[in-house]
Symmetry: C2
Amino acid sequence: MGSLPLDAASLRPLDPVAFAGDSGAVLDFLAEYYRDVDKYPVRAADLEPGRLRKLLPEAAPEHGEPMEDVLEDVRRDILPGLTHWQSPSFFAYFPMNASAAGFAGEMLSAGLNVVPFVWAASPAAAELESVVVDWMGTLLGLPQRLLFSGGGGGVLQGSTCEAVVCTLAAARDRALHRLGHDSIIKLVVYASDQTHVTFQKGARLVGIPPSNFRVIQTTPASGYGLTADAVRAAVDSDVARGLVPLYLCATVGTTGLGAVDHVRELGEEARRHGMWLHVDAAYAGSAAICPEFQGYLDGAELADSVSMNPHKWFLTNADCCCLWVASPGALTSALSTDPEYLKNVGTGGKKPAAIDYKDWQISLSRRFRAIKLWVVLRRYGAVGLRAHVRRHVAAAKWLERTVAADERFEVVVPRKFSLVCFRLRAGFVGDDRVDELNRELLAAVNASGRAFMTHFVVDGKFVIRLAVGGAMTEMRHVMDVWDLLQANADQVLRRYQL
Amino acid sequence: MGSLPLDAASLRPLDPVAFAGDSGAVLDFLAEYYRDVDKYPVRAADLEPGRLRKLLPEAAPEHGEPMEDVLEDVRRDILPGLTHWQSPSFFAYFPMNASAAGFAGEMLSAGLNVVPFVWAASPAAAELESVVVDWMGTLLGLPQRLLFSGGGGGVLQGSTCEAVVCTLAAARDRALHRLGHDSIIKLVVYASDQTHVTFQKGARLVGIPPSNFRVIQTTPASGYGLTADAVRAAVDSDVARGLVPLYLCATVGTTGLGAVDHVRELGEEARRHGMWLHVDAAYAGSAAICPEFQGYLDGAELADSVSMNPHKWFLTNADCCCLWVASPGALTSALSTDPEYLKNVGTGGKKPAAIDYKDWQISLSRRFRAIKLWVVLRRYGAVGLRAHVRRHVAAAKWLERTVAADERFEVVVPRKFSLVCFRLRAGFVGDDRVDELNRELLAAVNASGRAFMTHFVVDGKFVIRLAVGGAMTEMRHVMDVWDLLQANADQVLRRYQL
């Protein structure tokens, strides 16, 4: 059907035959893409800003074009400018898993295209969401009080940032309800120097004065995890100045180094001051489906909220973030709206079990994400998903050991999950040039197109981050990237030693 | 492939054959769904809260299951609990268009699964976004200063609420930069009693005191549009009290009635007080691709920002909201973050034209929405999309005329786009019972399963809203719903006249 000219006047946008034609063409395109993705340079080959704009027309076409032409342009103009997140040799940032099941779930979500914002707008979609977040919470070993079955509850949002904004707003409004809105300038939030920047962005969004963000330093002694002692010192000093401790963000698996904050200890500290404790397990939460990693969430029963992203390392195509809260009422008090045009009229009045998810998130409208996560869980099962996580952890473990055994390299922090942080040691060049050396190594590896990884800076040291976790990444890809690192290290070191 | 047992240990989540099998099964499922969607009750047939939870297991399965079983469960357990937003007889809220092209675009987005949050993370995705928002802005006749080509620029977000939060934060931080953060409690925002509740939710989220939201009354005299005179009176009174006017939200096509605020007049008023003017054209923005509707956006050159949702009436599956701003710097000042792990290292330094879209929105991570909107524009062309809009406007015009010609009914406000607001007149029953009568009519129509519409209340009157705009909705469906309304009106009136 793609090649038939479209008659605008009789445009039938969901004609089943046209639908099957266009979608079938894309399916073939994607199957071919997955077959060949390891042949593309992992990081976009063409990094010239403005390149694509020059290739495309100035304006949208007047007349519709065949799907084949559109796909041909994707192949020719767009693919060379993409960084291939699904490449098995993508080790940058954190993974963003696609999978056959995640994609099938996304197709169902986009195809049914329902909007479960109020309960009556699609009851089964809202209920599937409440079931699937309970399933996920149980898999992660979360305490009952964060699940619907225990009086708490969960929601699927688009990102950790949204989850952080919503919980910050809940904590803020709970405090301001008591103190009055003028006190917004007294509210203080706490996190570590390893906490994701999304937290500061969120705090700023909800109106916390930037001067009231406490960034507490971590040290190698705690593996760059935030400790209660450090929090207590900061809180005591703020309280003495008449400020109000509001919110503490603990991270399980930080973005820079994969560090873990001590949840129980921080939870006790937060309780002492009536602070909201949020646990951000965006990346490492996926590992907690394996019993051997659940210990990192010990103390979660002291948390007001926990979040993790199935779209990272859990085979759920973007986007999908699980947020669980102990007190749904605190969340919905801050986020609810009840205009006339959304009242569930005609349903015989809203029943108590009916959830209006618009009151659990920033936006009113929302996608049917629950069906995506549900298809992933159904299709792969807990056993399959644990195998997925363990395969990457095993590969990362191998890499860590191998890096440590090479005298040119050092592992910067002990690996906990599937992120390995390492660098070329000082000693080969002067201390002052070792960062430069590592920057060059990383740039050379990325420029090769055969792998893509990113960096971090801790204690002033430039560190290479290698995050294993791609949907297609197997042991052999990690072995290949090690060969690549060694070869490039040889070359870079040779240049420096001349 | 769906029926093959999955071996967890060798799980290959993007194996091209498994991918084709799972996705193909979903494609068949959806093609069948579109063929049959008009046979389902439009509003969920089963409105018993808790029904689905009872049908599903308590926990995620241990072992993976075949795709066929999953789809069978969707058919049996989930479809009966959905409200069918793609039904041609869905006239509730506003439409949420799916289309073959929108779906194909969503498949590309979900399948490639790249994350264009910083430029290097997928340059072509960021650039396609900047091109496609310029294309859209041009189609809508927006002023150059809101386009990249004119020094402004646009971004694709998930919803109007996100767009409103981001622009409120930009306006707030611009003001607080001058006044100091303590002045947050002096900032005042303005909108009408017809403005979407998302605006109040957004203002509350960014920390504006709820007592500083001005809800300005509209009247039938202005067609329920907000007038500059009314705004001026409110602003003058606030300024006299030492408050700071911050942000004015104008709407083109309100949710309740499809009313239009006078953008130029409000823009001039906003400028007088240094307020940020946002134009929310979430629904009616789509109509502005037709020259005959562009007049409603006259004065947009006075706006600081404009937003509209292609996911409503523009054949772009959820989610997709275009936000244009005149000053990208104001937006990114409020929303930017620059942690070490996101620095575009290895690209030879960031070029000036490279956009980090994370600084244009709430979240850091984001989906490749641009390819979806681009496929829609390519596949249908401006001519096809105008035909789509005009078909619905013509049907709504017919309905409005037909309702007005029936002496039992009255049109409550003149239709501007494709939303018709009407009700059974008082006169058949006492004035005190006319709302009840209309409630019963709406409930009866919705309970029939043959159409779904929602209501609004204006000047204390209960009004039935009928929004034409579904991707499959044709003239005959609007004629059918009129038959249905008449038949139910007969019955309801007979009951009342007994």
